[in-house]
Symmetry: C2
Subunit: 216 residues, 2 copies
């Protein structure tokens, strides 16, 4: 088996590669709050175990084996987040750190039973898809609110920023997963957006519109 640290590196590489394809040493260091030198050491170790493809100075990609582990960790993370919110009444901005610990509990039996217990949820509390026990998952077609034009509408289905500051802001604004929104106005000057949410109007900045995701 792999150490917590190895698992965290694989997960970080997976997440970064979803956005930028190949992954650099510095990106990993930034994402894990560590130093580039430490990352290099770990990359050698992971390459030795054939969990990543690594050539000096050229960045890394996950091997099939490495990706499988990364997805397994993500499955665990998201199932635990779902559990914490749905069963233990945590708020969606409070669960990340605890799930970071829980995701490293090894037992596959545990996570599959937890999945059963909760009825095989497809999305976690932030709208991210939960891989099934074979690592399969489907993301719905998500678009930032900022890509909508006036009169277009959609259903809030995810976030691009998972920080608790952002999540708390959304909760305060009642911009919650599952709610239907409609763009009623876009400010030409600062690109801020006015939304119709149920019977209220809500004004959000371009930055918020960029980080709030909907399905049409």
């Amino acid at each position: 088996m792999n150490t917590f640290t190895e698992e965290n590196y694989l997960k970080a590489i997976y997440h970064i590669s979803l956005q930028s394809g190949s992954v650099s040493t510095n990106q990993i260091a930034a994402s894990l709050n560590t130093k580039a030198a430490s990352v290099t050491d770990m990359l050698k170790k992971l390459a030795e175990k054939e969990l990543i493809n690594y050539t000096k100075y050229q960045g890394v990609t996950l091997t099939t084996a490495g990706e499988k582990i990364a997805i397994c960790i993500i499955r665990k993370h998201r199932l635990w987040e779902y559990f914490l919110v749905e069963k233990l009444n945590f708020k969606w901005d409070e669960v990340h750190d605890v799930a970071e610990e829980l995701e490293h509990i090894a037992s596959k039996e545990l996570i599959d039973r937890l999945d059963d217990f909760m009825g095989h949820p497809k999305y976690d509390p932030h709208g991210d898809p939960i891989p099934d026990s074979d690592g399969q998952f489907k993301t719905h077609e998500l678009k930032p609110v900022s890509t909508l034009t006036v009169n277009e509408s959609g259903i809030i289905s995810g976030v691009r920023d998972h920080s608790s500051a952002f999540l708390q802001y959304l909760e305060r604004m009642q911009l919650i997963i599952g709610k239907k929104i409609k763009v009623t106005e876009i400010n030409n000057y600062d690109h801020s957006v006015i939304l119709q949410v149920e019977n209220k109007k809500t004004h959000i900045s371009r930055e918020v519109a960029n980080n709030l995701l909907i399905v049409l």
Copy 2:
């Protein structure tokens, strides 16, 4: 905070001291499957942190601070065991190893909410008491079946051996927590015991009778 390893040492010291008062280096080494030399190193570290009272060659006891941590770990272990059995349908002989991992999740909030979720259970699946969030707990007066005389009866309420072999044996024999038993015969030669359990008679060895605990 303390490392997993430190927590495991404190827990081991706590458990051993319940049975034998003061705790020796070798007892700890045996209990943690490690070597006496490693234990000595850790004892110095724990003494440095004032979690144990330690004088060279004289064995150790927990300080108040150390005991508090040990009880907190035990609370977590037992609550998770309860969760695994009651909510996720694990068998009572399957939960120990997973709980050994789960008990090291730091969040106090998590464990208190888990406790709420399950309705503040007082005993874990093996009959061991679950400390409350202040570390308080009461053990019921447990006696081994082997201390009963003919015609005495009691309710199965705990075990002294937590090995899965023993737990599986008890399950197969339907000697399950909560069941009422009555001693109908004691064999003078090998001290084996015949029990009346519901409408069946069950014959158990002295060793089993020693490790099976009842309340009167």
